[in-house]
């Protein structure tokens, strides 16, 4: 396919196919570096903290949290929404960018999708633990039971059950179907018998037959077509948890698309945070180039601006509606006791991403890394602001109260971060972090030396 010579190459450093295989498989071979051990030790410490907090919650109950009668949802739901949001980048990259034929996705989709799966697992933990009795978690599924009662299909919380579990399941097969050919490569490159047997089992007997490839492409494409609306539906349904209620600040029609945009925004920020480190640590700088970072930054501007417009729209409509409760809630957000959280959210989500309009900042790794952390923080605070500020001022002033988390809640949050990093660090040891076959398929049109050949 013809590619205009003014386009920058996607893969640097004059590679051939065999070199691609070697480079991408390199992080899986040999002993992990000292940084890897350091990282996983920190992650495990966080995980232990989380395990303690889980034990406290399950043994003593939700009373160990900082919640009260007025603020019944606190960090638990904030973290849930934050993690689900982070889980949106992977499928966005592999599904929506596939449909839009963005070739640069090939270098980042694998690891982003892995992040999605891990983030969804972290997210799912919070509603389960919030129910208090972890062992009765299966109550949320409709199954024939002695009470003859079904689950409430009218409840957005139940829609969430379906949305999150479908999202996890479909993302998992989407990710795994993409992995199959690469696992075949790992199998064929394996040095030991055990490795060969394990990856042989995992690669589903992949042979690379043209017929298989052709159907594999169809499957990926249709899965992308299915996953694209699925991504939208998941955060839409999460937003329904809030927006179907009549709580001021929650009930607003812009929530569905605005939550989706915020989710992609935070997801890309997390992908950037991790990949900027990973590309360096795993020597993949020629595959995940500054071009890739820049493209992701452009999506950050886009989604960040959409989120910004949504904030302003909400604020304006609160005034325009003439509903005094809405007006009070928004004034309280900006100038009330939680104003600090509101302004952190505004600065991190609306102001800092706008810096990416400057090409210098967009292409600077340090700046991108810092801003991506800002966005992660900002998007956490967005959920905190939505959950807590809307609740803490009840309709009855006698019920007004404040909320701050207990150590147990902090532990649960830190614990999921530990879980996220533990699983991610394990992932980069056992699976190829870049889609090998997909990179090879764009190498001819977007590789470095092929590009120079075009120039001549």
């Amino acid at each position: 396919m013809y590619v205009s010579p003014i386009r920058e190459p996607l893969i640097r450093g004059e590679k051939n196919y065999s070199q691609v295989t070697k480079d991408i498989l390199a992080p899986m071979a040999g002993k992990p570096s000292i940084y890897w051990y350091l990282g996983i030790s920190l992650a495990l410490i966080a995980l232990v903290f989380g395990a303690w907090a889980t034990y406290q919650t399950v043994y003593y109950g939700i009373g160990t949290w900082g919640l009260n009668k007025t603020v019944g949802w606190g960090w638990g739901i904030t973290n849930f929404v934050w993690w689900v949001g982070i889980g949106h980048a992977g499928t966005f990259i592999s599904a929506i960018l596939l449909l839009f034929r963005q070739k640069w996705r090939t270098s980042i989709n694998r690891s982003a999708e892995a992040m999605t799966l891990i983030a969804i697992a972290c997210a799912g933990f919070f509603p389960l633990i919030h129910m208090g009795r972890l062992l009765l978690g299966f109550f949320i599924f409709p199954y024939p039971n002695t009470r003859a009662l079904w689950v409430n299909f009218n409840s957005p919380l139940l829609w969430d059950v379906f949305a999150i579990s479908t999202y996890f399941a479909v993302s998992l097969i989407f990710w795994y179907v993409g992995l199959i050919p690469d696992l075949g490569t790992v199998r064929d490159k394996a040095k030991t018998k055990i490795r060969k047997a394990i990856y042989g089992f995992l690669s589903f007997g992949w042979t690379g037959s043209a017929k298989h490839w052709s159907r594999h492409e169809t499957v990926s494409l249709v899965l992308a077509g299915l996953a694209a609306p699925l991504v939208l539906s998941v955060h839409t349904i999460v937003s329904f948890d809030f927006a179907t209620s009549v709580i001021p600040g929650w009930h607003t029609t812009i929530f569905p698309p605005y939550f989706v945009s915020g989710a992609v925004f935070s997801g890309f920020a997390m992908v950037l945070t991790l990949l900027i480190v990973a590309r360096k640590a795993l020597n993949l700088e020629e595959y995940i180039t500054v071009n890739h970072i820049e493209s992701m930054n452009k999506i950050i501007i886009l989604t960040g601006s959409i989120v910004g417009i949504a904030y302003i729209t909400e604020f304006f409509m609160a005034w325009y509606s003439g509903v005094e409760y809405e007006q009070f809630t928004f004034m309280n957000r900006a100038f009330g006791p939680y104003a600090w959280a509101y302004w952190i959210m505004m600065t991190c989500n609306v102001v800092t991403p706008q810096l990416f309009w400057f090409k210098k900042i967009r292409t600077s790794l340090t700046a991108t890394f810092i801003i991506s952390i800002f966005v992660n923080i900002g998007m956490w605070f967005e959920r905190f602001v939505i959950v807590v500020t809307s609740l803490h001022r009840d309709f009855l002033p006698s019920s007004w109260s404040m909320y701050s988390p207990s150590l147990v809640e902090v532990g649960l949050y830190v614990g999921t971060i530990g879980l996220f990093f533990t699983l991610f660090l394990l992932f980069i040891r056992v699976f190829p972090v870049i889609a090998i076959a997909e990179v090879k398929s764009v190498l001819k049109s977007s590789g470095d030396h092929q590009k120079t050949a075009h120039h001549e």
Binding site: M1, V3, S4, E217, P229, H251, T253, P257, T313, Y320
Partner: protein, 379 residues
């Protein structure tokens, strides 16, 4: 010269409306509907050029002149709209202009809903759109004449300005021109809903223009691969529109707050045909017809669906405007509505073809032109 004939039909419809003594509200509302509808097509035509320029995509280059030409209608529609407002349309369309009869809710909205500020916003919108449309068209021509890469960068810069400006103004203008008709009612999603409706129609109209031009013997370089992509846009954007429609409807239905549900109550009880027609024609039909891969590649499916979408979103706009501006007793679809729409369509076609005649149909010095020419996709 079909265009002139169509404009004549439009004028005839207007005269008919006047002579037949139809309610003034109805005549003004129809003029307003059509001028908004066709201005938004111009805006989306330009958006098509701009959004692909900043996304650095190549395939659409061979048909971007159509989008540029559509944007020529923006000032024309703006002038018509202004005349409609100044000649008494404000009074007939917008309840909040009846200064002496405002209830306690509308009085609170006066800082935003007042005529001077309304006109200021109006001029800001059209000045910005007109200026950026002119700049983008000019740069695109310059790029075509000498192919210097700096014009391409300039084009991208203007395009970025336009996309940002449109993102804000399309939302605010839809509040001003459409939502404030039902002055008590409000919905935060409204602006994006209207934008998605504009978007899918605009892209469908581009396909129709390409089809017509090919029938006239031009644009031979557009092939089924390009049509396939436009088909995918129509398919995807129809779903996106339905998604926003559903989000807004579900949330208002579910929370069941009277001051919000009244909006749908009115539409479901007095405009039910239009209400369901809207959903079927704009979502169900494009969804089912455009789902198979091959359907998106042939004119025999894409064009009928594009025409349906064009009609469907006119009806969408009808159900946004009429219940508030005219009311169910006086509203209806008759010769006035159909004739006037044909008139506007004729004017829009005249302006667009005039725009197309002013620049070569093929932007052959565009850096991505070769890509578009050799374009073919697996899916």
């Amino acid at each position: 010269m079909a265009g002139f004939a169509m404009v004549a039909i439009g004028l005839l419809a207007l005269v008919y409306g006047w002579i037949a003594g139809l309610e003034a509200n109805r005549i003004y509302a129809n003029l307003h509907l059509n001028s908004f509808y066709f201005v938004s097509l111009g805006l989306i035509g330009l958006f098509f050029v701009a959004v692909h320029a900043i996304a650095e995509s190549g395939w659409q280059v061979s048909m971007q002149r159509v989008g540029e030409a559509m944007s020529m209608f923006i000032p024309v529609g703006g002038i018509i709209m202004l005349i409609v407002f100044l000649s008494g349309g404000m009074h007939h369309l917008f309840e909040w202009t009846h200064k002496d009869h405002l209830d306690h809710i509308l009085i609170k909205k006066v800082p935003y809903l007042n005529q001077p500020f309304f006109y200021i916003r109006f001029f800001v919108f059209f000045a910005g759109w007109g200026l950026l449309a002119w700049l983008i068209r000019k740069t695109s021509r310059q790029l075509d004449m000498n192919g210097d890469i700096q014009y391409f960068h300039r084009l991208r810069k203007y395009s970025a300005f336009y996309v940002v400006f449109l993102a804000i103004t399309s939302v605010v203008s839809s509040w001003d021109w459409l939502m404030s008709i039902d002055a008590h009612w409000f919905s935060t999603l409204y602006g994006w809903y209207v934008f998605s409706s504009m978007l899918v129609t605009g892209f469908s109209v581009i396909v129709i223009f390409v089809f017509v031009l090919q029938r006239m013997g031009y644009m031979k370089h557009v092939n089924e691969e390009h049509i396939h992509d436009m088909g995918k846009y129509m398919f995807g954007l129809s779903i996106f529109w339905a998604y926003l429609w559903f989000s807004q409807y579900l949330l208002i239905w579910y929370a069941n707050i009277p001051e919000e549900t009244i909006y749908f109550y009115e539409r479901l009880n007095h405009f039910d045909t239009v209400f369901f027609f809207n959903l079927v024609v704009n979502f169900v039909i494009p969804f089912l017809l455009l789902m198979p891969r091959n359907a998106k590649r042939v004119y025999s499916v894409v064009i009928p669906v594009a025409v349906l979408i064009f009609i469907g979103h006119w009806v969408d706009l009808y159900q946004l405007i009429m219940p508030g501006a005219v009311g169910h007793e006086a509203a209806g679809i008759g010769f006035l509505e159909i004739g006037l729409t044909i008139g506007f369509l004729g004017l829009f076609m005249l302006v667009t073809f005039w725009g197309l005649s002013k620049a070569p149909l093929v932007p052959k010095n565009h850096p991505f032109y070769e890509e578009s020419l050799h374009y073919h996709t697996n899916y």
